[in-house]
């Protein structure tokens, strides 16, 4: 069985579009058009140009010598942290803003947790002169003040969401409600490979530029175009989906996903969705979901705001269940230590999300000749306060 989305929008038994009828026209319009738009020459030309000249792609593949020596293997870091706005998120927002423009939408909405996707969305809206409304949990608005200010400076309206637990899940609910009320003129830029079909596939395709570049860069550096291990962190899972995309069917490549264990998988304060989740419906998608026996969705916890989502993209649910990907749950503490190690060995301060992927290096024990590519999805600027506080710098 393959790992690409099927005609009905499923990955194995995960995915689909479990949406109320109010959203059907919006989703249908996107589903009918996205492949046509995305595969057209004019779209590809614009998309590639913006990725190169605006986002700063291709991002380098960096041979991390000291980290390699530490682990006794060959580690390459895919430097998504060097993208404009500091993470891979911009790949998706550039793609989606072009789709929105093509569909003649006038208004962009987005959800954000830590604010990275919100900033990446506000950025492309400024670039294209599009109205931008970002929904953000009221608690996150308080916790992520610098990103809120960035979004405002970029011209976006940031709407604090007071429903539920006032975090990412609730912000996503509110963005979907906005879309229900604005079915004609609005495009919803989802920030990860989650939500109803065709979002998981569309966002994966925009992020797949990551593995496209890895293939070329690895060939140049090692003489072969695939790694033995490919490591990425998974919250919703967009950076991992992009890093895996061209290797999904290539069994020589071991896919390693790092999820957030928070204070520990069994602590009750965790976001280890693939390990603890059961099949369920969240934000229009059937996936593995942290929920109670009554089917109420549970609030996840992680030190990293980008990983505390109670679901996971349906592709990742399928990769985990089918055994194609190996999932490791990384605790807050392990992530912090891995961030410090990367910083001191390579002079790169990673985002807290990425730190979970780095911590997975401790678990996989690659051999001396193995090639490990780790997707360095984002930079740590936004996390400095946490690092200073927790690492007692």
């Amino acid at each position: 069985m393959g790992y690409k989305v099927d005609a009905e929008g499923f990955y194995g038994e995960y995915g689909g579009a479990y949406i109320p009828e109010m959203l059907y026209p919006n989703i249908r319009e996107l589903e009918n058009n996205y492949m046509k738009i995305v595969s057209s020459d004019s779209f590809q030309n614009k998309f590639r140009l913006l990725l190169r000249d605006y986002a700063g792609r291709p991002t380098p593949l960096f041979r991390a010598e000291r980290l390699s020596a530490h682990y006794g293997t060959q580690i390459f870091l895919k430097r998504e942290d060097l993208n404009h706005t500091g993470a891979h998120k911009i790949n998706n927002t550039i793609g989606q803003i072009l789709v929105a423009t093509h569909l003649k939408k006038k208004r962009i909405i987005a959800e954000t947790g830590a604010g990275q996707h919100g900033v990446a969305t506000a950025t492309v809206c400024a670039l294209t002169g599009m109205e931008c409304i970002v929904y953000m949990g009221a608690l996150d608005v308080e916790r992520q003040a610098p990103n809120v200010k960035k979004m405002k400076m970029l011209g976006a309206e940031v709407v604090p969401v007071h429903s539920g637990n006032k975090t990412l899940k609730d912000a996503t609910n509110e963005a979907i409600r906005d879309w229900i009320s604005h079915p004609v003129d609005t495009h919803y830029i989802i920030g990860s490979v989650v939500g109803p079909h065709p979002y998981p596939d569309m966002v994966t395709r925009f992020q797949s530029v990551i593995s496209e570049e890895i293939r070329i860069q690895l060939m140049e550096k090692t003489g072969r175009d695939y790694p033995d291990y490919l490591v990425a962190c998974v919250g919703g899972g967009s950076n991992a989906a992009g890093a895996y995309y061209h290797y999904l069917e290539d069994r020589r490549v071991r896919l390693i996903s790092a999820e957030a264990a928070g204070l520990g998988v069994d602590s009750g304060y965790t976001a280890a969705t693939s390990l603890l989740g059961r099949p369920g419906i969240i934000h229009g998608s059937r996936t593995l979901l942290m929920q109670d026996d009554d089917g109420q969705i549970e609030e996840p916890y992680s030190i990293s705001a980008g990983l505390d989502y109670p679901g996971v993209g349906p592709l990742h649910a399928w990769l985990a269940e089918s055994g194609r990907a190996t999932v490791y749950a990384i605790t807050d503490e392990e992530a912090l230590q891995a961030a410090m190690l990367c910083t001191r060995k390579e002079g790169i301060i990673p985002a807290l999300e990425t730190a979970h992927a780095l911590a997975a290096l401790e678990k996989i024990k690659p051999g001396i000749k193995d090639v490990v590519v780790l997707n360095l999805s984002g930079r740590g600027d936004k996390d400095m306060e946490t690092y200073i506080d927790k690492l007692e710098i």
Partner: protein, 264 residues
């Protein structure tokens, strides 16, 4: 035995009033009591909302009632237990309305079986898509004799309206506006045009208009175009108002105002 929803539409030609409540709101054990009061004071049907942590299609009022109901301790299992003997005292049609996830966790077949055993006549699951319903669940619904009412909206094209109407049993849920649930004070011109379009389609199943119906005026407007209407948020708000009235008195006053009698 004839489904009570069919019975209702046979016996009552117009101004059918369906009231939405959130199970476990305002108090955990209020639901059976509310159902009795609603029947006594003139509701024709009740939609019993299954509270969910992430009610995507709902506006602030029902979000809040759902949250409070969950905090009160409401679960789908408890709801069925509370309604165990409801048919000894309530005879109007009862419909369960809720999101797909809690239903799937119980298991669709077990859910339908408990609906049948409790005397529930129909269900509304807004995020269960028509295609999935048809291919996976239709036969199961039929075998348990539980009706499924699907939704159409102002942006549903005619072809799809016919398809959804053909899948719906009992009644079709006519969503009044492109919006989440929540009270509005008036019905706008473009909504009337949409209602008129629906009326002229002469669908094989009767329709009830919901979303934004809040008072006597909007109720009567809706009833010009459909067999009746559904009121949710406005009623939930009336239940939550700070005053000293009993639940029964609140029900009596609210329905009295909708029906146009002077409140007692």
């Amino acid at each position: 035995m004839i489904n009570r929803i069919d019975q209702l539409f046979r016996e009552r030609e117009r101004e059918i009033l369906s009231i939405y409540i959130t199970a476990g709101y305002p108090g955990l054990h209020d639901t059976p009591r509310l159902l009795k009061a609603l029947e006594e004071h003139g509701a024709d049907m009740v939609e019993i909302g299954i509270p969910f942590s992430d009610p995507l299609a709902d506006g602030p009022v029902i979000q809040q009632s759902s949250l409070l109901a969950l905090r009160n301790g409401m679960t789908l299992d408890l709801l069925f237990n509370q309604l165990n003997e409801i048919r000894e005292s309530v005879s109007i049609p009862l419909v369960m309305m809720g999101y797909l996830n809690p239903v799937l966790q119980m298991g669709m077949e077990r859910f339908l079986s408990r609906c049948r055993d409790t005397g529930i006549d129909g269900v509304i699951i807004p995020d269960l898509p028509p295609d999935e319903y048809e291919t996976r669940y239709l036969d199961l619904f039929r075998s348990y004799g539980i009706y499924n009412s699907l939704l159409v909206t102002p942006h549903t094209d005619n072809q799809r309206i016919f398809r959804i109407a053909a899948l719906s049993e009992g009644f079709l849920y006519l969503v009044a506006a492109a919006s989440t649930t929540g009270a509005r004070s008036s019905v706008e011109k473009h909504q009337k045009e949409y209602f008129q379009r629906l009326k002229e389609l002469k669908l094989p199943v009767p329709g009830l208009i919901g979303f934004g119906i809040s008072n006597r005026e909007t109720f009567l407007t809706a009833c010009q175009y459909a067999r009746g209407a559904i009121i949710g948020s406005a009623f939930i708000r009336a239940l939550g108002e700070e005053n000293s009235l009993t639940l029964e008195k609140r029900v009596e006053r609210f329905i009295g105002e909708i029906r146009g009698g002077t409140p007692a």
